[in-house]
């Protein structure tokens, strides 16, 4: 199997997963008991206006037709219109995607920056006190839930010390002016509460990936030809460890999305999570449907990128014998 075919297969799987996921999301939400029009108008509403609303929302059409028109719309970036405000769902979701993306991406980058060196140190020094300290630190971080870390951070740094805002969010660019300081100020605590947990989890995986490398024959070979321990690890360890670390980072990005939903609540950040929760409580099901689809899309893209990165890292997966 050559590289082009491998990539093509991965892309096909990605497209198929999207389709299956969209069908599942649509079915689950639309097969829920309870009529949407009744939910919007309330139980006392007269049947005529309920029927009229159903007609206006297109709920009278068969399920398959409604599914196809939803999917057809999505291909053009149209997620439908809110049942409540009649606003396009995409207009509601787009700015919030950016907010959540900032939160997730910055958290992941910081987690990696902390976890990679920490995990490597814990692996190389695993028989000494430095390694024990690194392992213990990640064990502690691991056992704190993100929302709890968030609350603690607010209590200390916002309420106690007044160093940082307790909640809220500022866009990076407001009305054409850059506001990096305010932007970052608002992100410090939410990002920190996500990073504490994620970096700890990642550090443990990084540690075990490198412990494995340290026991590999090729690592001994690298040292036998004249690399020092650290340089051998850098030259021949990082790439090999990356194969398993990348898997974990991919999985963590997905869990970060979920973590972000909670943390957005704690810090009142107008991201996808807050939008999702308010749509759920308003029974605005098409918005719920749209946001869940966006989240699933993000997770599938992450998985696809993880899969493709394996091909970059591991020549054995690229297939083909020596040219």
């Amino acid at each position: 199997m050559n590289l082009g075919r491998t990539v093509a297969v991965r892309l096909l799987v990605f497209a198929a997963s999207l389709l299956v996921a969209s069908a599942a999301i649509f079915l689950v939400i639309n097969a829920l008991p309870g009529d949407i029009a009744t939910a919007i108008l309330g139980f006392g509403a007269d049947p005529a206006s309920v029927a009229q609303l159903r007609l206006r929302l297109g709920l009278d059409r068969p399920l398959v037709v409604r599914y196809l028109s939803w999917v057809g719309g999505m291909i053009h970036g149209d997620l439908g219109r809110s049942y409540l405000t009649n606003e396009p769902v995409s207009a509601l979701v787009a700015p919030r995607v950016a907010v959540t993306a900032w939160l997730v991406v910055i958290s992941m980058l910081l987690s990696s920056l902390v976890a990679l060196p920490l995990g490597m140190l814990a692996a190389v020094k695993r028989r000494t006190w430095q390694g024990a300290v690194a392992s213990a630190a990640s064990q502690v971080g691991l056992s704190i839930p993100a929302f709890y870390a968030g609350i603690l951070l607010v209590v200390v740094f916002a309420v106690g010390l007044h160093w940082l805002p307790a909640n809220g969010y500022t866009d990076l660019v407001v009305a054409g002016t850059w506001r990096p300081a305010q932007f970052l100020q608002h992100l410090v605590l939410p990002v920190a509460s996500l990073v504490i947990v994620q970096a700890s989890v990642l550090a443990r995986y990084v540690r075990s990936a490198f412990v494995e490398v340290l026991n590999e024959d090729y690592f001994r070979t690298a040292r036998a030809v004249g690399w020092t321990r650290w340089r051998a690890l850098w030259r021949h360890g990082v790439r090999n460890a990356a194969i398993s670390v990348v898997t974990v980072i991919g999985l963590q990005l997905a869990t970060l999305l979920v973590g972000a939903i909670v943390v957005e609540q704690v810090f009142r950040i107008p991201g996808l999570g807050t939008a999702l929760l308010s749509a759920v409580s308003n029974r605005d099901l098409i918005v719920v449907q749209g946001i869940v689809m966006v989240l699933v899309f993000a997770v599938l893209v992450i998985n696809l990128l993880t899969d493709l990165s394996y091909l970059l890292i591991d020549p054995r997966l690229r297939g083909g014998r020596a040219r």
Partner: protein, 287 residues
């Protein structure tokens, strides 16, 4: 054949009262062994697994795990290695002494073309322009008997057979013309026909480079093909040493007698039970 700067009476490698302990319990696995290796000489080190052969070799290379403690003396070309740190030992490894490992399937980095791995060994110890390194690598890969060395240099390890990989490992061990090559069961993982070819290659290459060799094996027959002198190790101690002929024909230690008997199965009369080492050497319970 003396390239170590000694005067011919100084051994290339002089190991004195080497003791190796592991872990917090300081379990001693090598109990004060001494031996020496002259420049250009090939010395066999025989013993069963767990007898301390590999640990001894790794101690010479300075590649033991950090929880090992080494005492005694290991002098390479007059220089004391015991007590040297990783940074001081690294420049010697791959240049002055090198090692061929047992398991060719896992000895190479799976994510890097083998040519680059060989070139690394060269560039680590010699200042060469990149282009020159490539040419030298291809030459050496050819010298170790790899067909189409250009193609092999660009191949990843998984595209090569065990025999080919072991040739690459041999090329890495010899490319800097070291004084000492330690071979740790270099042919054990290969099948018999490949084994014979790799042994022949090692024989020729060691001669060409003029290197001394510490050859570790559990197989007396293999050692007798390559070495002049042999040490027999048992439970962390050297129980017998002498020329290969001497040890083969007149072994003194009962364990060695057992080894010789098991290596000479052709001498067993048809229908008779095959000998085992235990027939000659009743071991004490080690636990």
């Amino acid at each position: 054949m003396n390239r170590s700067g000694g005067d011919g009476t100084t051994p290339l490698l002089q190991v004195t009262d080497l003791r190796i302990e592991f872990g917090r319990s300081r379990r001693e696995v090598v109990h004060g062994i001494s031996f020496s290796l002259e420049p250009g000489e090939r010395l066999g080190l025989i013993g069963e697994s767990g007898s301390g052969k590999t640990v001894t070799a790794l101690a010479v290379m300075g590649l033991l795990a950090e929880n090992a403690s080494v005492t005694g003396s290991i002098r390479l070309a007059g220089r004391e290695l015991v007590g040297l740190g990783d940074k001081d030992l690294a420049p010697l490894r791959g240049a002055l002494m090198s090692m061929v490992f047992q398991e060719p399937m896992t000895a190479l980095d799976p994510t890097m073309p083998v040519g680059r791995q060989v070139a690394e060994v060269l560039l680590l110890h010699q200042h060469l322009p990149r282009g020159a390194a490539r040419g030298r690598v291809v030459d050496v890969l050819g010298e170790v008997g790899l067909e189409d060395p250009e193609r092999v240099a660009d191949a990843y390890p998984h595209a090569l057979s065990g025999g080919q990989r072991q040739r690459v490992v041999v090329a890495m061990a010899l490319i800097n013309r070291p004084d000492l090559v330690i071979c740790d069961e270099p042919t054990t993982a290969l099948d018999v026909t490949v084994q014979a070819r790799v042994l022949k290659l090692l024989d020729a290459e060691l001669d060409a480079v003029g290197a001394s060799c510490l050859f570790i094996s559990h197989d007396l027959a293999v050692v007798s093909q390559l070495c002049e002198r042999v040490l027999v190790m048992l439970d962390g101690a050297i129980v017998e040493q002498g020329s290969v002929a001497q040890v083969f024909t007149a072994p003194t230690h009962p364990y060695t007698r057992g080894l010789v008997a098991t290596a000479r199965l052709d001498a067993v009369a048809p229908g008779e039970r095959l000998p085992t080492v235990e027939d000659y050497y009743a071991r004490q319970d080690r636990t």
